[in-house]
Symmetry: D2
Subunit: 159 residues, 4 copies
């Protein structure tokens, strides 16, 4: 895979702005910790409220963080005036997400006109160890001419 280039010169602020408008990412305390064209990393610190019955990060949440990272890896390559939609993902849980923090790293494998295929891996960190918790493949859609900011849904939801 060659180096990917961004079509939107303002991709960095477009991605960070969109991420900041995702209330669920704020609820769980996720941070966008790295971004370059076609690559995105999101980190999440352990909180008791984010765990499952054995005290690990909840698997569905681990996958959700990977999905967000994959979505923004794709979105970083989109032209201006577009938005991103997850079409599909497949995640494989490799080991329990045990540690004080998880980080999802996503990369675009194949950029297209409409569909972008990404992979993402999640690692958990604990006492100097890094555990590979999840690997997954994601298909993202590029919706042209749709403002990522539109937020019509949120207005609706507040009525």
């Amino acid at each position: 895979m060659g180096v990917l280039t961004a079509k939107n010169p303002d991709y960095d602020s477009a991605v960070r702005d969109s991420f900041s408008r995702q209330p669920f990412m704020e609820t769980v305390g996720a941070d966008l910790t790295h971004l370059e064209p076609g690559i995105c990393e999101i980190s999440l610190a352990k909180e008791p409220g984010l765990t499952q019955q054995h005290g690990f990060f909840h698997g569905g949440l681990v996958a959700a963080i990977a999905d967000s990272a994959a979505g923004y890896a794709a979105f970083s390559l989109y032209p201006a005036n577009s938005t991103v939609l997850t079409v599909d993902y497949n995640v494989k849980f490799l080991q329990p997400a045990q540690g004080f923090q998880i980080t999802a790293r996503a990369e675009v494998i194949k950029p297209g006109k409409t569909l972008f295929v990404c992979k993402a891996d999640v690692y958990a960190e604990e006492a100097g160890d890094k555990t590979h918790c999840l690997t997954g493949l994601f298909t993202m859609m590029c919706l042209l001419g749709k403002q990522d900011k539109a937020n019509l849904g949120r207005e609706k939801a507040s009525t």
Copy 2:
């Protein structure tokens, strides 16, 4: 598919007890609304903190709810003294999860000795309409001789 039977006569309390020990499910406000052997439903009411940038339920969360429902559909068929682990899931997003509530309904398609294949569908409700948001396939593992209650991870996490 014939009717599935539970090996654990106390499957109902085993499932509900495990669900109640998932802090993340409590954080997001999920309710286990229906349970029978091999079938589980989980509902989630809309809160502003559960949405993405367009005001819909966050897709990763929708998938996480489906994963939990699939896990408990499988767990309801497990023998006593076992626990459930998600091996893999594939989710397809059919429509935005727009509405005041989502409900995931999961069913075991194929029970095995070690692996249980489940499907789950998520529907969003709004103003009398029911929208099919997500469909997915899940592989669950049955870990025999492991207490679902053990919570070693949580103890570890608190040190």
Copy 3:
């Protein structure tokens, strides 16, 4: 899911014509045994050359038949002057495909403008028994303005 309607009044001949131009389907001896808008069935009789090391139908072939059925279930809903492309599939192997014949039944779960989500199940028949071998989810793309007949690739391949 309501009843699906075909946009192309000649969907039946469009699908059967496309199927007949798939040399690989002929190589393995697959038959398109049922078609209605959004639903397609393909059957395959056991031949020694189609098996794996334990004498069952080769799993990759079972999945390939399911993929073809899903593709034509979607294609049956496409407008004229379009072609179908598989974007992605996820298949779960439930039991060995043991028997004299397998049949894949695919249905469109969610028709879209560009993307069509389908499910498919494969059953093996032996001595009056029907075994559920595979279940899967498929995403198909509708390419408008591309002749399914074009065959540019085959011309290229023959030079």
Copy 4:
């Protein structure tokens, strides 16, 4: 990922022997072209009978070759007296498989006791170009105490 080690000192002949007993791989003309512990490559030359309606390699066959490569990548790490079973796979089609030959390269991402997670990529070669056609994730099961050679199914099938 560290370097993977084979538990079976005869892994090379165990894999090649199993591959040679897959009639379907012979039917399509697939060759096992590279093997080391946890890594397997399978190549397939273009024949008119292996194509779809546009003259490319049939997508389902491309995925089947990837599945075989993944299965043998996993099997190379299994102890003696075991056999391999595909549990699940998810494949994403990146570009048409256009060219005179395809090669699937599979690697074990996470070896386990029972389940092995693999990834596989398929490349098509044409006129010096290499095209990335498919990427996928696979879950393989290790069945201990089952002879890969047993062939009970084939005997059954011939009665």
